[in-house]
């Protein structure tokens, strides 16, 4: 068995949108998704791409305004009579004010539209940056810097949701001793096919952070149940996952087949939670089987346990 190492992960930035993780060096015209704040090539500070795109849009709006002002100025200059001069000044001023008002009201839509166009235009440069980061990951692995390799892959994984990236992350994570205080991920690692390393990781993570078990993980366990059962202590693992599903009533309702089947493997504290849930919702439609199975399990194994007394 591989010797696991204790690590402390670098904190990942919390952002509302993925594009906020993307930074650019205006000078080198390169993109960056990792934690460095300054360009490795020229040393200049990275800029968020949203602000770069907004500056481009702002300059475009300014150029339109200047063009409009130029037309108005020329109209004033070419005026030959007083009525023409007054009309040029009055109408010109009105047009400039209207431009300002329109810009103020609809400018934000232009910023968003231009930002999307900017991203679309820059997609190959962004992809090149991600490939460059993946090459760095390869170098880190060769040098034995698994923690750095994972941290970089985690950042790249925000942009590329492929099984290759997920499997890499899982392989790196399986090198570490997992702890409660770690910033771990689980549902972002669920692969589209069965992966033994993922199940190994799931076994560890469910022990330290059962709250990471979400719908996608439960679906995965349900789908690949026969494969998981072939592994050592597979039933126990599914029981632990089923126990973690008891956090939320919708999960209990949706995955009660899994819970009933692996009731024997559900830890005592989780069974206590299930018993309390069954007491509260036992009379509801769809809870009959779960209620009966829970009652049977409690009667069989916990008849003399004071914590379970009188619940069902």
């Amino acid at each position: 068995m591989r010797k696991k190492i204790g690590v402390l992960f670098r904190k990942t930035r919390k952002t509302a949108h993925t594009f906020e993780r993307l930074q650019t060096c205006k000078h080198c015209h390169t993109y960056h998704v990792l934690w460095e704040t300054h360009c490795g090539e020229c040393g200049r500070e990275y800029q968020p791409i949203r602000s770069i795109a907004a500056a481009v849009t702002h300059r475009y709006a300014q150029s339109r305004f200047l063009l409009l002002a130029l037309f108005v100025s020329l109209a004033v200059l070419f005026a030959k009579t007083l009525p023409q001069l007054l009309a040029a000044c009055g109408i010109g001023l009105l047009l400039l004010v209207l431009f300002f008002l329109i810009q103020k009201k609809y400018g934000s839509y232009e910023r968003d539209g231009q930002f999307l166009a900017y991203i679309t235009q820059e997609q190959s440069a962004i992809r090149q940056a991600l490939v460059r980061h993946l090459e760095d990951v390869g170098a880190d692995v060769k040098a034995g810097r698994i923690k750095e390799a994972y941290e970089k892959t985690r950042e790249i994984g925000h942009f590329i949701q492929s099984d290759t990236i997920k499997i890499r992350k899982i392989m790196f994570l399986n090198h570490f001793i997992l702890r409660k205080d770690m910033e771990l991920e689980l549902d972002t690692l669920v692969t589209s096919t069965y992966d033994k390393d993922f199940v190994e990781y799931l076994r560890e993570v469910v022990k330290v952070q059962p709250s990471l078990v979400k719908k996608s993980v439960l679906e995965y366990v349900r789908r690949y149940k026969p494969y998981i059962l072939l592994q050592e202590n597979g039933g126990q693992l599914i029981g632990q996952v089923a126990g973690a599903a008891l956090r939320m009533k919708p999960y209990v309702e949706q995955y009660q087949d899994l819970i009933i089947e692996f009731l024997d493997y559900i830890p005592r504290d989780r069974l206590l939670r299930l018993a309390k849930l069954a007491r509260t919702h036992g009379q509801e439609v769809g809870w009959e089987l779960l209620y009966a199975a829970t009652k049977k399990q409690v009667d069989t194994h916990y008849t003399f346990d004071p914590d379970f007394a009188g619940i069902l």
């Binding site: 009309a87 609809y106 942009f159």
Partner: protein, 49 residues
């Protein structure tokens, strides 16, 4: 006459700008949409290669 032509050109420019912005407003693009499109672009390209 040149004055009026220049004013008409300025008015036309403003009109074009107004309708361009109005079209962008009607697209109703949210930041979530942009985010989704960015991820779709990056992942779609990889699949095609």
């Amino acid at each position: 006459m040149v004055t009026y032509n220049l004013l008409a050109a300025a008015f036309f420019l403003l009109g074009v700008r107004f309708f361009k912005l109005l079209r962008l407003k009607r697209r109703n693009l949210s930041t979530e949409d942009i985010d989704e499109q960015l991820c779709a672009l990056l992942n779609e390209k990889r699949k095609r290669r």
